[in-house]
Amino acid sequence: RDEKGSDFIQTLVEVLRATPEGDLLELLTEVNRQVCELDVRGPDCNERRKACLEIRSSLRRRLCLQ
């Protein structure tokens, strides 16, 4: 998270705004792909780090928010 917000929330919003009609699980996979591609620097280290989402689902149907 930096002054622009967190990688997760900001990427999530961007992906869902671009494709709101998509299957949410597929969109989250895309969010994860984009987050994993980012190089991040923590506030107390200069080395580049990686982050990865964890998605847990017990959904029984497709979930499309639009």
Binding site: L25, E26, R49, A51, L59, R60, R61, R62, L63
Partner: protein, 206 residues
Amino acid sequence: MDPWGPEPEPSPGAQYDLSRDRAALCLAVIRDRPGAQRDVEALGGLCQTLGFETTLRTDPTAQAFQEELAQFQERLDTRKSPVSCALVALMAHGGPQGQLLGADGKEVRPEALVQELSHCRALRGCPKIFLLQACRGGHRDAGMGPTALPWFWRWLRAPPATPSHADVLRIYADAQGNSSGGFTPGSCDQADILMVYAAAEGCVAY
């Protein structure tokens, strides 16, 4: 459909019916979390675009996290028009064992908050989405050496670079529905839940 009546068993490939109301709850600790306000604004705008009636509370204490969830559930159970989907966003600093830290620095288990909503009668059979923006520990993934790397980082380095859908998802089977205990598939409290963590278990969220 009668929201309190028997729930039809989903057919393969079926889609959730989201034609009724949608409700969202956003609990965000923004104090001492630079950029958190931007997340709140971005997520709030998205929820509005997607038709969610959104309740926002900033800087909740650990106790308020639980109280807000309980009140949210109560409102859903008592409202006149049924809901077809709920979204809960929890944003805070995280403790070393995956706890959420309230604005008072006290801890609350995110799983306890999820349980709160899994018993909501109004949401039976409806999708419940949880977004958790918080650290889940102090591990920082540096991505060193392919054989000694965490599983998710090995995916990134191996061609193709994109992890598959099946790799990423940790599917929790509907234990009640798969058991021979006589429950109907729709009776399981743990079904229809989608949880998205901003970080892998034990790791820092950025």
